[in-house]
Amino acid sequence: MRLETKDVVVSLSRKDIVKQVSVQVRENEFVGLLGPNGSGKTTLLKSIYRVLRPSAGYISIDGTDMRQLHVKDTAKRMGVVSQFNNLAFDFTVEEMVLMGRAPHKKAFSQDTEEDYRIAREALEKVDMLDFRDRSFMTLSGGEKQRILLARTLAQQVEMLVLDEPTNHLDIKYQIQIMDVVKSLGIGVLAALHDLNLTLMYCTYVYVLKDGRIVADGPTEDVITEDLIRRVYEVDCSVERHPKSGKLHVTFFSNLQED
């Protein structure tokens, strides 16, 4: 599946937050979306997963304008892990993950053994199978985040849209979740804060600033000391790590050390 936005403009309270942004995620491509706070990453993603409506431009899946597709059809093909909101009602972890099967279900169809198997496999992948009978609300932020990923895995989609999926997670699970996502071998569009994680997993990145794309290209070409200074306004050095062979960003404090 190929996801494409073309000159998308999204306005909130009459202010343009996303300004004529065109991005493209090809099949099996892990694409990162970078940018400082307030640069419009989340807003762009929300318009892609249909919570916000673009005021101009269009978003397409395999060349079909998304407005012509029912939300149920997009839900069968595109899964979303967004920044976590509190719930008003409780479910068990397993019920929560089974909800990921919803787009594939008709009104009357029962949850089959197949659905349970898919849900359990998803829970296994995020290392949460032992929590299946727990109440979702009693989980920690990081555990909730992993359950939501499991729910999206149970959706069995061709494309993932992730909004800072590693928020709330300690480093072990940051790497675990990114590994899980990468190993699915499907298209991914992920808004990320951590440049080193981006360098580890993304093959292509778009950099947003003030609602516009200021740079895009293969990850290692785009993430440079100069770009980080321009976009994030911090000093750093980007060097190839001797062991991993990947580029690595080291940031410098603004405080003068004696």
Binding site: V71, T74, F89, E94, M99, A102, R132, Q155
Partner: protein, 377 residues
């Protein structure tokens, strides 16, 4: 491998248990109906009550001389005081309790899912304030004073229904103002605004009216009662209840998804805006029907869904049927209390539902394991 088998058994047994629970509640509802008919201010023996009920319910087949199935002397079963009390007063009343209880509890469950707010009840869109205004207007001023023709002749129920629909339309319009998607917060606020506006109108009518007898009627109506139940006015709420149940049974999966929040619902393929509007209009219509037949019966639509959710969880496939049945059972028995608690008198059922409901609610608030749908913090 053994781990997986264990999970499967667990899940299925829990669901199997809940399915059995639905059947248990259905049986309890039937038993409640049968038992509640035997209780009342006038003492009538079990045998006589059931002879009357069976004779009339089977359209005079069982008990008639022609079919040969005799259940004793049946002169009293088709005419006279006992027949009137059992078949024309108690029976429709008990049925009305069941129907309205089911309607309100069902609407409460759906409303809470629709606005994703555990504080929602069937009256949230201003139904109660609108119905109050309509009823007060009809009782205190009298429609004939302002209208002529058909409108003038309409009873309190009609005006209550009209008021409820008016309030609902106003709340929906207000929630739309300013554009954008209808959010739960907007709806709740619009409901409050319309509630206080209509409340003000109601108060001014009562204040100007100053007629003690009418005032008592208004108060009585506002607090709800099944006393007006007769076979002929059971039809509308009965049909609405069945239609509502049939409709919402097709929506249980969608309602589950709605509970996950706006964004999650959309990303799981639910056309949120459309269904939210549909559910609100349907539940409001159903609650308006309930309100106009028996006044405002508070607490059932709020409390029953909570209590049941505390035991069976948030999965609507089990919550909705069990809550609906529990609502019916609850209202049957509160109505029995309303009839017998003070000899030779009757108190409004709304008083009893609140008097029983409030302590149960407090108990559930204190009990740590139930967070009113929310987390335990």
């Amino acid at each position: 491998m053994s781990k997986k088998t264990e999970t499967k058994v667990y899940t299925n047994s829990r669901h199997a248990f809940l399915r059995v629970l639905i059947i248990v509640f259905a049986i309890a509802l039937v038993l409640s109906i049968l038992l509640a008919v035997t209780i009342g201010a006038v003492k009538i023996s079990f045998g006589d009550v059931y002879r009357i009920v069976i004779y009339n319910a089977t359209h005079f087949k069982i008990g008639s001389v022609e079919t040969g199935i005799l259940i004793g002397d049946l002169d009293f079963a088709s005419k006279g005081t006992m027949y009137e009390i059992v078949w024309n007063v108690r029976m429709p009343r008990v049925m009305m309790g069941a129907i309205v209880g089911i309607l309100l509890a069902m609407c409460g469950v759906v409303m809470q899912a629709t606005v994703q707010n555990p504080l929602a009840d069937p009256y949230i869109l201003g139904i109660s304030s609108g119905a109050s205004l309509g009823a007060t207007f009809s009782i205190m001023i009298g429609a004939s004073a302002l209208f002529s023709g058909v409108l003038a002749g309409m009873g309190t129920a009609f005006w209550a229904f009209a008021g409820a629909l008016g309030a609902m339309a106003l709340v929906m319009t207000l929630a739309h103002v300013g554009g954008g998607r209808i959010t739960s917060a907007k709806l709740v606020l619009a409901g409050c605004v319309v509630g206080s506006l209509f409340g003000a109108f109601t108060n001014i009518i009562v204040y100007i009216g100053q007629d003690a007898e009418n005032m008592k009627n208004v108060t009585y109506w506002l607090m709800g009662s099944m006393a007006a139940a007769r076979w002929h006015n059971l039809a509308l709420p009965g049909i609405c209840m069945v239609a509502g149940l049939l409709f919402f049974i097709t929506q249980l999966r969608t309602m589950n998804t709605l509970l996950l929040g706006d964004e999650a619902a959309i990303t799981l393929g639910v056309d949120l805006g459309k269904w939210r509007r549909v559910y609100m209009v349907v539940t409001s219509l159903l609650s308006a029907v309930a309100v106009c037949t028996c006044g405002i019966v508070g607490f059932v639509g709020l409390m029953i869904p909570h209590i049941v959710r505390g035991f069976v969880g948030s999965d609507h496939r089990f919550l909705l049927p069990i809550a609906a049945l529990a609502g019916g059972i609850f209202l049957i028995w509160t109505d029995v209390l309303a009839r017998v608690i003070i000899p030779n008198s009757e108190i409004p059922i709304g008083v009893i539902t609140s008097a029983i409901g409030a302590p149960i609610f407090v108990y559930m608030m204190i009990k740590k394991s139930y967070g009113f749908g929310g987390a335990d913090r």
